[in-house]
């Protein structure tokens, strides 16, 4: 629970400082690269954990199949819900 608040707080603090223009221009200009660097380090560490965990490697094919099913159903669910919500709010369909 505390991690959620920490992540959210950092997101908001970052957004606020940057919106106010209080982030150093040099840092602000490099923000895309910094994000990418962080991301790749994190992905690599995530990979490390996968490699160290024997259960994951044993179940890889099964996990792949489940991932496809989860992917399809989250999409179907969200398209249907948005479609119904628009009907409730009586927005005519734009095409």
């Amino acid at each position: 629970m505390s991690s959620i608040l920490l992540y959210l707080a950092l997101l908001i603090v970052g957004g606020f400082l940057s919106y106010k223009g209080w982030i150093h221009q040099g840092l602000s200009n490099k923000i895309d690269k910094l994000q990418l660097a962080c991301l790749f380090v994190l992905l690599f560490v995530m990979g490390l954990r996968i490699g160290m965990d024997d259960r994951v490697l044993d179940a890889f094919a099964q996990i792949g199949l489940h991932a496809i099913l989860f992917g399809i159903f989250t999409i179907i669910g969200s398209v249907l819900t948005v479609h119904l919500m628009l009907k409730v709010f009586n927005r005519k369909a734009v095409k």
Binding site: Q35, V45, M46, I75
Partner: protein, 196 residues
């Protein structure tokens, strides 16, 4: 980009195979510190767009309705298929809460379970791939606003160009704000399901 991301994970996995299991706890700390930095940087990036508030005003009530509907729908879909496949409710919910942001959701889940983390990663990669393929079709056959749904959190970055090409400028703005709200929800919802 997607290719490089997958490559980074595979490289990590190969190195991980050679490392002793005693280092597993160290990766926990690395993940937390890295995530804190990343979210701070993401915040800075969002705050750089000074038009963020005026853009949002133009979308009206849909500003709230569309992301909520997408979140609810994704969760329902994930819980439905998860129950069928035998996953506990909270794990299915965490997978569904990824909203297509495969990098962040899987990294947040990593301390909980590597197995679930891989599932979150692959599920949300699949979601992005399917979204890229389906957005043009949904925009044409169902409606512009519905075309934002498969994109989830990626509606503000990777799939935004596809949405704006296949819909109109009003939908593109709504797509951005929807992605923004869903992206903010990912680091809240995913841990909410797993860590109490």
């Amino acid at each position: 980009m997607t290719f490089k991301i997958i490559l980074a994970v595979i490289a990590g996995t190969l190195v991980g195979l050679a490392l002793p299991d005693t280092l597993y706890a160290t990766t926990d700390t690395l993940l937390t510190v890295g995530l804190c930095l990343l979210l701070f940087f993401v915040g800075i990036d969002i705050g750089k767009n000074k038009n963020v508030f005026s853009d949002i005003k133009r979308t009206g009530v849909l500003f709230f309705v569309v992301p909520i509907a997408i979140a609810v729908g994704s969760l329902l879909g994930a819980i439905m298929v998860g129950t069928f496949l035998g996953y506990p409710l909270n794990e299915s919910g965490a997978i569904g809460s990824g909203m297509g942001w495969y990098t962040l959701s899987s990294i947040i889940i990593a301390p909980y379970s590597s197995e679930l983390s891989v599932l979150a990663f692959l599920t949300n990669v699949m979601r992005e791939v399917f979204a890229i393929a389906l957005i043009p079709i949904i925009a044409k056959r169902i409606g512009f606003i519905e075309a934002i749904s498969p994109a989830g959190a990626t509606a503000m970055d990777t799939t935004l160009p596809i949405i704006s090409q296949n819909t109109n400028s009003e939908t593109a703005i709504l797509s951005f704000s929807t992605g923004l709200i869903l992206s903010t929800l990912v680091p809240i919802l995913v841990p909410l399901f797993l860590f109490r």
